[in-house]
Every structure is written in structure tokens, then in C-alpha cells.
Symmetry: C2
Subunit: 137 residues, 2 copies
């Protein structure tokens, strides 16, 4: 939740499950559906984060076990979903000019992670009554 | 949110987006990850709901464009995730004895739909600042 001052307060379930409960281990896997074939999910968001860390599409892809081509296609798909780029690249040099996660891209990652955290809180609260009924994996 | 009396109050975003905004058309696609290969997502939940409506695994599968075998595999997977069955079947007769969504299965569907509604509210609130930046599909 954002306070009135705009600072970010961590999102936690109102009634957090006991650490040894099965529900405490449940996690969300979430895609935001923008249209027929346009989705924003963990693959693209993990990649944006890795580009922010490494400054490189190929290094980010490698970190995630993705080919350069696959990483490039995902970055291109995100950039086409918005009127502003999430990632910019600079040409030049033997190793290319690197890539940068823009302020817009950073804001997008933060928004997705906040949605994911709120979904996790919802899962742990709404699934709490089923804790004793879940067969551990 | 559940009131103290246990009645269900619809979940809405605190600041609902304008009906003509792009963000108002964003939706979640959510799987709850129970373990390595155990997930509960829209496919299984839609199927449980359809079984509740039709009283039949094959009719429910047909409604969702799924083979009987596929529908049966999904029902079996859900039943194995919990210590109580979400769907029970009765043998017998030429057309089989039908299938029933148990009270446990109904509670599971309601919990999933509540998590989904809370995720939708989170998407619409957290993505609102990006409304003007989304390229419509």
C-alpha cells in the first residue's frame, strides 16, 4: 500500500500463515492479459530485472537460461506493448553497446511485483482454511 | 472481504478505473503453485464450475471444448492435491452415474475466484499510472 506521502509499505497478509503451514509455501504464477496474445508475466519481468542488473540483453538471457534471440524477442514484445520503451539499447563496439532498463521499465517491474505480492497475500489469506486439506508435494 | 457474519461482499478496486480506460480491460491469468508440478489455475477451476452446473464430467468437458479424457485427468489431478475430493462420481447405468462438485470443491472454487478478484483489483490499481502508455491490442 502506498501511504499518503507516496512511500512504499511492504505488503503482508493480514493474518500471516504459520511458517510450518502448507499454505505458507503456496505462490502465485501471474500473467497480466493485455489482449488476445499480449501478456506480461514472470518471464518478461524476470528478464527486465536481469537487464537492469547486468546492463545487457545477452547477459540477462544467459542468467535466465534463455537464448539471446529469445531474450531479444521478449524485450521487443514488452517495448511494443507500451508507447515508451522499457529497455533501450545502444549500438556499437565489438560487444554491442549494452542495454538499459529505463525509468519506465523500472516502474513497470515495481508495479508487477506489487501486484504479485498482493496476489500472494490473497492466496495465503483465502487458502488458509484449506491448510489441513492440502497434500504436500 | 468476508464480513463478521460470513456473508460475501464483492471485491472492487478502491479507485475503479474509468470504463473507457485501457487498464479497465486488463485481466489476470493466475495459477496457484502448490509444488514442482502441482498447479491450480483457470482450466481446472472452470472445469469444476462446469461440473457443478452440469453434474457430469463429460458434459463439463464438452462445454469447455475438452476431451473426456482431458477433463478426467484434470479432475483426478485436483482430487489428488487435497485430502478430500472436490468431485465425486457415481458408477452405473449406460451413461454412467454422473459427477458431483462436493461442498469442499465449491469452497475451493469460491476461494480461487476471490483470489482472482483481488488480483484483478490489484492490477487495476497498480497499473492505473500506465493507462496512457499502453498500446491497445
Amino acid at each position: 500500500m502506498r501511504t499518503k506521502q507516496g512511500t512504499i509499505v511492504p505488503i503482508k497478509p493480514k493474518r500471516p500463515p504459520a511458517a510450518d503451514s502448507v499454505v505458507a509455501r503456496l505462490t502465485p504464477r501471474l500473467r497480466i492479459v493485455f489482449g488476445e496474445s499480449l501478456r506480461l508475466g514472470p518471464g518478461k519481468i524476470d528478464l527486465l530485472e536481469a537487464i537492469g542488473r547486468t546492463g545487457s540483453i545477452s547477459a540477462a538471457g544467459r542468467e535466465l537460461g534463455m537464448s539471446y534471440r529469445r531474450a531479444w524477442v521478449l524485450v521487443d514484445a514488452v517495448n511494443r506493448m507500451f508507447t515508451q520503451p522499457a529497455v533501450t539499447t545502444a549500438a556499437g563496439g565489438v560487444q554491442g553497446g549494452g542495454a538499459q532498463l529505463t525509468a519506465f521499465g523500472q516502474a513497470l517491474v515495481i508495479a508487477y511485483r506489487r501486484i504479485e505480492a498482493r496476489t500472494l497475500a490473497a492466496i495465503q489469506e483465502e487458502m488458509a482454511p484449506f491448510d489441513g486439506d492440502i497434500v504436500p508435494d
